[in-house]
Amino acid sequence: MFLLPKGNPLFENLAVSKLKLPEVLLKLSTGNFTGYASFVFQSSTTILVFESGKLVSALLEQNNGSRQTGFEAISSLVDLMVTSGNGILNVYKLSKDLTMCIHALLQGEILYKAQELKLIDIKTLLEKIKSDQMNGCLRIYTNERSAIIFYKDGNPLGFFHDGSHDIETSSTESQKIAGLPGAKIDLYSTQGIEELMGVDLLEVVNIQKIWDTAISLNQTEKDKTGKEREERDRKIAALKLADLEEQVKVIVTEYVGKVGRGVVDKELADQGGNACLMDETRVVRFIAGIERSAKLLIGATSIKAMMEKLSSAIATANHNL
């Protein structure tokens, strides 16, 4: 993602998970905001550019370089905001001219792309920018460094380069990069401010509807996932309970004989199934039932040993459940 000048920060590092996009956009729109809002997620960054409260461009760029613009970008941003638990919002106020240049950088017409500087006559190019009274920006870069020159009506508005936070008036850094071997340029142009003001994505896109749909879909997905998790947890718990039931039967059979399995089955049925082994009150009644039956079959010493083993097995299993 491009590094952009920060201008005057209105908000920085707001947690996106606590925000609602329609409310954010409404606030920026009604506040006649000029500048840009960047939504930074782990895998992508979205830039929304505003001119006097109008959303003039939206760009979403993935970390792998793929881009979406306009409706697609907004729609993807909504999905990210709804589904992603992280992400931050930064809002920077810029001058109208600079905002126009940012728009050019993001979504402007590409006049030159990755053009090697040594193959073009830079002087002639700069003269052409001036003579055509171009609005836009010229990006000069190598593999390691980059600088951007913003133009309004063919005149440089300022210079911005890696490592800086804001627009500078000195062209030194740009000239240095232009002098480096392998330096390339991108040239983006855009319409003037008046033309840009004719565009407002907020009027074209029903943000509220997109947001509500995304929330609803996300909720459905969450419910579905929740149900699946619940079902999975229930199955795991049932398996663990079945294991515990078998363990209890083995212990009782060890002391009481094969009739012990029947005794356990009957007592579990009386207590409403093997889930009682997880219930503190019902497990006491279950053990008391086993003891009462065992008194008809085995001696007191054996009963005591069996009870200790049973209680220990159930306690251990409950601890692990």
């Binding site: 004989g257 008809l296 007191a300 010493t301």
Partner: protein
């Protein structure tokens, strides 16, 4: 005191030993029932009642008071019914693992049946020796029938719980009921063919004749079986309860 010494002198030593053995068995069984589950209450109480029914042999008033004599036999009948109820409950437990009811109910019901029997005897005419013999015959019939039933119940219980500690105790109960079957069965055999002591005493008053002399061999054998089986019954019941008590310790 002189009367008592005279009475002891007239007692058959076998009868005395039999009552003493049943007395010990009664004490053992009653003691056993105190600390154990309700199922054992019926069985233990039943065997204790056997002692009470046998005690007529040493009751100085039993011979003089016919109603008391009849009551001893009724106690004997109730005894085997209570015992059978206990084994039936144990069998039900083995099949369904269901334990229900209270000990108190067993004691109360038994007491109520005995009291009812007492009232029945009180409001009816004094039983004649023939009536008493009939009551004794009914008692023996019930004992024989229920002993066979209990043997089958015990077999089924043993099969169901044969790998548990107490199963050997039920094997011992099997021996007990085999002895009881022989004891009561031989008595019933003598009664059915009118070769029993009571019938012979009755016919001395009615001038009827008995064919006992024609079958003296089988009569003596039956009397022998009855006598020793009665001793073995008392001894085996006491021993069985001691054995089960040790198993369940």
């Amino acid at each position: 005191m002189e009367y008592f010494i005279d009475l002891l002198g007239r007692l058959n030593p076998f009868d005395t030993i039999q009552v003493i053995l049943w007395g010990l068995a009664g004490v053992m069984s009653f003691y056993f029932s105190i600390g154990n589950a309700r199922v054992w209450t019926s069985i233990s109480l039943g065997f204790f009642l056997v002692f009470l029914s046998q005690a007529y042999l040493m009751n100085p008033f039993a011979e003089s008071y016919y109603k008391l004599s009849a009551f001893h036999y009724i106690i004997g009948t109730v005894a085997i019914m209570v015992i059978t109820h206990g084994f039936l409950e144990y069998y039900v437990f083995c099949r369904t693992f269901e334990i229900s009811g209270k000990k108190f109910i067993v004691y109360l019901t038994t007491a109520f049946i005995l009291a009812g029997s007492g009232v029945f005897l009180a409001i009816n005419p004094t039983p004649s020796p023939n009536t008493i013999r009939n009551i004794k015959m009914v008692e023996n019939s019930i004992w024989v029938f229920l002993s066979l039933m209990n043997l089958e119940l015990i077999r089924k219980i043993y099969v169901a719980i044969k790998d548990s500690t107490i199963s050997k105790g039920f094997f011992a109960f099997g021996i007990v009921f085999l002895c009881i079957f022989l004891w009561k069965g031989s008595e019933l055999y003598l009664q059915v063919y009118q070769w029993d002591k009571e019938w012979l005493e009755i016919i001395t008053l009615t001038d009827e004749e008995s064919n006992i002399e024609d079958f003296i061999g089988r009569v003596q054998f039956s009397q022998l079986v009855s006598r020793y089986a009665a001793l073995c019954s008392g001894f085996s019941v006491g021993g069985t309860f001691v054995y089960i008590y040790r198993l369940l310790r």
